[in-house]
């Protein structure tokens, strides 16, 4: 399929750009629908949206430049010419968070967490469509070659014709991610309606809990998807580059996932310990957390590369991440004042 949708004179619009804009617009609409449910003014969303979009593009490009320095002539070139090059989705999340903090700073929203909680389902929907847009460029191909004819079609595989005319079917990584993010959108909407203001013990603030959930769910999906990609964004350690030039090995997505899970875990573990005191399950949770994360990284990064036993490795990785998710959610549940059968008062 032709990548270009509209070509008139100096104006060229790509299909992928159209899908991305549709995703952004859909995310905005969803946020506009959810945010007033706590009787807030949508002005905050309108102010947040353009700032978040601009910051997202800037940060997504900055991270991409950082991990693919040699693709760009210079930082200035990377940050001024957006018609070529790539983006990292982690920048979108950071952009949305920074924009919410700015909106909080000008006192249009009582808390950034509240705005982000309303925006989380919209962000998930937006990311889903951004991933879908990759069907219209050169990106939606995973590293796994699909040889079984039954699976040589969407949603499993997408074809690729190389320069010599050979056709190869590879895992449709981004399309699968698109489906997963759609499911996450639905989950987050449900969570938003039922649990967005869940009270915690001892009056701990629970702002932004929908956003927190989004971050860890996104982390799970991205962690697995990144491992199946053939163009992962890798971390470069400038400070130790001179002594360790091999450092471009760890994926930025994996670090992002680790940070999200760690922040979530620390946040709710702290509350849980303060309200309930240290208990055996806290130590168990820490052990399981560590083991699961190491396991997910080992199977998704090292073992799969070494052995190419995809099904086995991704099952182990998926299992580890599921256990990790359950662990942090269980810790969260110990913080929720569940005896208060909260009902939405609207």
């Amino acid at each position: 399929m032709n990548e270009i949708a509209v070509f008139t004179g100096s104006l060229t619009i790509y299909w992928s750009a159209i899908i991305i804009c549709l995703g952004i617009a859909a995310g905005l609409c969803l946020t506009l629908a959810l945010y007033p449910m706590d009787h807030r003014h949508n002005t905050a969303v309108w102010v947040w949206f353009p700032i978040a979009t601009v910051l997202s593009v800037l940060l997504a490009r900055l991270i991409h430049w950082y991990s693919h320095i040699e693709q760009y002539g210079s930082l200035l070139e990377a940050m001024t010419d957006y018609s070529t090059g790539g983006y990292c989705v982690q920048g979108i999340i950071l952009g949305a968070v920074f924009a919410a903090l700015l909106v909080k700073l000008i006192r249009l929203t009582p808390t950034a967490g509240e705005l982000l909680s309303a925006a989380a389902p919209g962000l998930a929907l937006c990311l889903a469509l951004i991933r879908l847009s990759s069907l219209f460029n050169t990106n939606c191909r995973g590293r796994i070659v699909i040889t079984d004819k039954v699976y040589q079609q969407l949603p499993f595989a997408i074809s690729w014709t190389d320069a010599a005319g050979n056709v190869e079917y590879r895992l449709a990584t981004f399309f699968l991610e698109f489906l997963a993010l759609l499911v996450i959108t639905v989950i987050l909407c449900g969570f938003f309606f039922r649990h967005r203001s869940e009270p915690l013990w001892d009056g701990w603030r629970n702002e932004g809990n929908v956003m927190w959930l989004f971050l860890i769910l996104l982390g799970v999906v991205e962690f697995i998807a990144d491992s199946t990609r053939y163009d992962s964004a890798l971390m470069h350690f400038f400070l130790i580059k001179r002594l360790n030039p091999y450092a471009s090995f760890i994926s930025i997505t994996q670090i992002f996932t680790a940070v999200c899970f760690l922040l979530y875990f620390i946040r709710y573990m702290r509350i849980s310990v303060k309200t309930n005191g240290w208990s055996w399950y806290h130590f168990l949770a820490m052990l399981v957390f560590l083991a699961c994360f190491v396991g997910a990284g080992y199977f998704g990064e090292y073992k799969v590369q070494r052995t190419a036993q995809y099904v086995r490795c991704y099952l182990w990785q998926g299992g580890s991440l599921l256990l990790l998710y359950l662990t942090v959610r269980l810790i969260y549940r110990t913080c929720v004042a569940k005896e208060y059968d909260y009902e939405d008062g609207e």
């Binding site: 992928s16 617009a25 706590d38 693709q71 009582p110 590293r143 203001s197 915690l200 163009d231």
Partner: protein, 518 residues
């Protein structure tokens, strides 16, 4: 706590005709229910502004509402909670506090007549405030539309090559091309009288080589290794070998149960086999090409810096290689001198000078347009300009940055320390050497299920040297070490499976697929 008369409040609401969220009927408390909260009966305390020490029942986000928002009636919507029941799962501190609160509440209630509670009447938003919010929304709505329009036109990741490689098509040597054309025209014209070998070449700007002819491939068992000598003789007769000796010998200690493979046409002779050396399985490949353009390098996407990595078999298939091998996996590390299509792409000046030089510099192998190997030693200093001048003067096509140099000008070059490749450990190794003009030899040593022992770099260098090579250079080893023959790995790859890489080297036939004139 303030107390209100429920009926009075309800009447107020009815008068104002304000729609607001009232508690459901079952949530409105009876007197009896309110006096017995511990029994688990519901009570409403939604209109109570949270006190500092009353955090258990307060909405956390309400507690954070700023002053002006707190006055907003919408922000003070009711939240109905059911009374807490002491359970085992309840936090210890919370249990203590809840119980004390219950006792205090019971004492209060004994002294006072319990009354129904009410919510505060919502205030209407002032017109000015509404106008302000409306204007702000409108302004940012317009900005949002602008941002979306900009995004539509500019944000389309990876729709085109991120960095176009600057294929230097303008550097064609016109005299050489004219010579080639005249030679082939003469060969065609005099074909009935005399044999004049044609000269084929692959244009430098071509990203895909001609597909090899299926009839050119052959395979023999080690017992019939002498048959390969017939093919070699054909190559000798056609002038392809230019009178050079070959490394292949039918008396080598071949690995049992593996065939010797070959490919021959007018422009390329390739022989590939496995043999046992010191009890290790070693894969060897000897190649003689007619033109330097048949020895090529391929980066994924033909683009330096492309983040994509593919199996060597996929890359080899995409360029119609006769035989392909791993190179330096340049995207795995940040150092080394990388030249591709005559352009200097990677050369970090600061890593080639100063105290860190030792740790970041590798020996570099350059391949000239004549197909010769040129080495740049790792402690040689240069500026980028000097390096560009070197590339231009020597007509460098591409470079490989791994190393170390194993053999230079026919002499073995042992290495004591090197920043890449774990040279002192027994490890899977790969290397390429030049025996003569356009005559190359590739060797790889991998472990296998039966044979785990492998070589250090110096041992590997000695084995390469024993083949009579003039130049030899070590390539990336380990799981990267791979040689691709007819679409599949020919050697055993570490861990039993291919690894994605960013680049390969390959040899191709120069005979056009149509079989037409070169």
């Amino acid at each position: 706590m303030r107390e209100y008369d429920l009926e009075e409040i309800l009447a107020e609401y009815a008068e104002d005709n304000i729609e607001t969220a009232l508690p459901e009927e079952e949530d409105i408390l009876t007197e009896e229910e309110f006096t017995e909260p511990a029994a688990g009966l519901p009570y409403a305390e939604d209109n109570v502004v949270p006190e500092e020490n009353d955090a258990q029942t307060a909405r956390s986000d309400d507690a954070e509402v700023p002053a002006e928002s707190a006055e907003d009636p919408d922000t003070q919507l009711t939240r109905v909670f059911k009374a807490p029941k002491p359970e085992k799962t309840e936090g210890r501190r919370v249990r203590r506090e809840t119980e004390s609160r219950r006792e205090a509440a019971a004492q209060d209630e004994e002294a006072e007549e319990p009354k129904k509670k009410r919510r505060k009447k919502p205030k209407k938003e002032s017109f000015g405030k509404k106008l302000g919010f409306g204007m702000l929304s409108l302004i940012f709505m317009v900005i949002s539309l602008g941002v979306l329009a900009w995004t539509l036109q500019n944000v389309h990741p990876d729709t085109s090559k991120t960095t176009e490689s600057s294929r230097s098509l303008g550097n064609t040597n016109l005299v050489s091309r004219l010579d080639t054309g005249l030679n082939n025209a003469k060969a065609n014209a005099l074909s009935d009288i005399a044999y004049i070998p044609k000269h084929y070449t692959i244009p430098e700007g071509e990203t895909v080589a001609p597909r090899p002819q299926e009839s050119g491939f052959g395979s023999v068992t080690p017992e019939n290794a002498a048959t390969v000598m017939d093919v070699i003789q054909l190559a000798r007769d056609s002038g392809l070998l230019e009178g050079q000796d070959v490394i292949f010998n039918p008396n080598l200690n071949f690995e049992p149960n593996t065939n010797i493979q070959y490919y021959y046409d007018e422009t390329i002779l390739t022989i590939i086999w496995k043999e046992l050396i010191d009890g290790n399985t070693v894969t060897c490949c000897e190649v003689k090409v007619a033109d330097a353009s048949q020895f090529r390098r391929k980066l994924v996407d033909d683009t330096f810096g492309s983040p994509r990595k593919l199996f060597a078999t996929s890359i080899a298939a995409s360029v119609n290689s006769v035989v392909a091998m791993n190179a330096d996996f340049y995207m795995f590390r940040d150092f080394g001198i990388v030249v591709y299509d005559r352009e200097l792409y990677r050369f970090s000046e600061d890593t080639y000078t100063g105290m860190y030089k030792k740790y970041n510099c590798t020996d570099t192998m350059f391949v000239t347009e004549e197909g010769d190997f040129l080495f740049w030693h790792r402690l040689q200093e240069a500026t980028p300009d000097q390096m560009r001048a070197f590339i231009e003067e020597n007509h460098i096509l591409f470079s490989i940055a791994f190393g170390p140099i194993l053999v230079e000008n026919g002499a073995l070059t042992p290495c004591d320390w090197y920043p890449a490749g774990e040279i002192d450990r027994g490890y899977s190794r790969a290397g390429i050497g030049q025996k003569d003009h356009l005559h190359y030899f590739y060797m790889s040593l991998n472990h296998s299920a039966q044979r785990e022992a492998r070589w250090t770099v110096n041992t590997f260098g000695e084995r390469m040297y024993e083949r009579g090579l003039q130049q030899a250079y070590c390539l990336d080893g380990g799981q990267t070490s791979e040689i691709v023959w007819r679409g599949a790995p020919f050697n055993y790859i570490d861990f039993g499976g291919e690894r994605e890489v960013s680049d390969i080297m390959y040899f191709a036939t120069a005979i056009p697929e149509s079989g037409g004139t070169p």
